[in-house]
Amino acid sequence: MTIKIALTKGRVEEQVVPLLEQCGVDVSGIKHKGRRLIFDEDDTFEIILVKGPDVLTYLNNGSVHIGIVGSDILAEQQNSQYDMLDLEVGKCRFVLASTRDYNPHQVRRKIIATKYPTITKRYFQSIGEDVEIIKIEGSVELAPLIGLADAIVDITETGTTLRENDLQVYADLQPVSTKLVVNRLAIKQYKPQIKQLIEALTQAKLTLGE
């Protein structure tokens, strides 16, 4: 029986495929994928391309054995599976950002716009502040600019988008990177193969990182 990996399509996929290839996994199908979503070229691992937020849904149901997904999504969805390895790609960070005139110490219940309500709630709880959270699906930077929110919690890699929109960072919340997550029962059922993959990926990280 093959081991199924749900891989987040898009940027994560582009960054992780070279690592898998370095481990000896046959990724020839994904490299010329067309519209396919399932890749069974490798004898041991079947790779399925899914959207990031769906990785844990497949993993929790036992439909796939391994997930490769950003830690932003793991934190937001309160992952309960084994978050085993930091692949150290797709690195970015969660920040609290707003316009220049934003005062983080202003005494009132602030309004925060974000795609990540769980992470936002947890952050403000940790600093003992109660805020009103507004969930936004995209272009979160707009919210403070047009007066929907006082500030935003969002992911930034280089800060370019924030700067271009004249926003600045007021706090660093947590780092984000791509993680390898394993289903709690699958690790028992496929220990040798999964252990070998993790060891190979650890080595591949070093080789490709050099």
Binding site: N61, M84, Q189
Partner: protein
């Protein structure tokens, strides 16, 4: 009525699925009864306090209020109600109970998981020795066998093991706590960072392998034997080794493995814990263990307890559906009732057709693909 939909995470069960579950439950109940266990039925509604020993981060119950404003829950677990009952009724120990029913836990919305699942299991209260674990395991093995589970793997662990190892590690308490969390989460990246200070010590061979310390008994034991201080661990290891031998002596197609890297299933577990699965299942088929602290949240006196619960839904998921049998529809005139009853007794796949005319009976037989027997004419008229 406007809202005819089911709440999220629930389902109707009918036909084959319902029958499979009922059969599995009946087989388990018979097994429990045949071994001298007594039936215990507890209410679906309990005070929320009963379940306070559960880790509520993993178990979110449905809550409601009673008329005095006290928090009630739909039971998220079937073991704690047994403990509540034992501590409030003064029933003499030792006692052996079996139970079966639904438990309710809120899962993530729209995730495909069910919030109402069926369990069946046993609790043995009042026996402190290893024989308690063994009877639970014997029941686990036999319960799988009668439900045609092939290639069963039984995983043994012990709630005391991880703390016994941490007690001997030369680390500061905060590091121990962080390392333990990383071990339980199998967060290898963080685990390796935290374990770095043990790199050149006698603990190194064990520590580097610890997150992977599950699987074949001899391999796991060989890693444990590399620890410098064996004395504290010995009673735990002896119990595990004896139990491995006990299970291997049982009949049936099964494998025993160990897991000495997992957290205690619940805070009230005090000794051995066990679970069962097969290579093809997406869920554990049963789980259980020794929880001598179970009753201490209800009473001052500690009482030894051990038990095991089957996940009836997981057993049903893996069961092959029964071959579809064509049902026989018995049409009869009102005055033929006793004839119809006699025909019904003879054919286990028959059911009475309550239609008032033969034409109506024929239409039902056609649309539901049943074989119609017309007792009025005393002849078969075809499907």
């Amino acid at each position: 009525m406007k809202n005819r939909n089911l709440p999220n995470g629930t389902r109707d069960e009918f036909g084959t699925r319902a029958e499979i579950k009922e059969t599995i439950q009946e087989r388990l109940f018979k097994l429990f009864r045949d071994r001298g266990f007594n039936r215990l039925t507890t209410p679906i509604l309990e005070y929320a306090d009963v379940f306070s020993p559960l880790n509520l981060e993993n178990v979110r119950p449905y809550q409601l209020l009673d008329e005095q404003g006290e928090a009630l829950v739909l039971r998220p677990d079937l073991t704690l109600p047994v403990a509540r009952m034992m501590s409030t009724t003064g029933i003499e120990v030792p006692a052996k109970w079996y139970y079966g029913g639904d438990v309710f836990r809120l899962n993530k919305q729209l995730s495909g998981s069910y919030n109402q699942v069926t369990q069946a299991g046993i609790e043995i209260v009042g026996y402190a020795g290893l024989k308690g674990e063994w009877e639970s395991l014997a029941i686990a093995v036999q319960g799988c066998e009668i439900n045609a589970v092939k290639d069963l793997t039984i995983e043994l662990s012990d709630a005391r093991f991880v703390d016994a190892v941490f007690a001997q590690l030369p680390l500061a308490d905060p590091t121990k706590q962080a390392l333990k969390q990383a071990l339980f989460d199998k967060d290898l990246t963080r685990y390796q960072q935290l374990a770095q200070s043990l790199a050149n010590t006698a603990y190194q061979p064990f520590i580097s392998e610890w997150p992977w310390l599950f699987g074949a008994v001899d391999l796991v034991m060989a890693t444990v034997k590399t620890l410098p201080d064996q004395e504290q661990l010995q009673p735990i290891l002896t119990d595990l080794e004896r139990t491995v031998q006990f299970i291997e002596a049982q009949t049936g197609d099964l494998t025993v493995v160990l897991d000495l890297s997992r957290p205690t299933p619940q805070s009230y577990y005090t000794g051995m814990a066990f679970r069962g699965y097969t290579q093809s299942d997406a869920d554990y088929l049963f789980s259980g263990g020794r929880y001598d602290k179970l009753l201490t949240s209800f009473q001052k006196v500690q009482e030894p307890a051990v038990g095991v619960a089957f996940d009836v839904d997981a057993l049903a998921d893996r069961a092959a559906g029964p071959v579809d049998v064509v049902q026989t529809l018995l049409y009869f005139e009102p005055e033929q009732w006793s004839v119809a009853e006699a025909a019904l007794k003879k054919d286990p796949n028959a059911t009475l057709c309550l239609a008032d005319s033969l034409a109506e009976a024929q239409a039902i037989a056609r649309s539901q693909q049943m074989t119609l027997v017309n007792l009025a004419a005393n002849q078969e008229v075809g499907a």
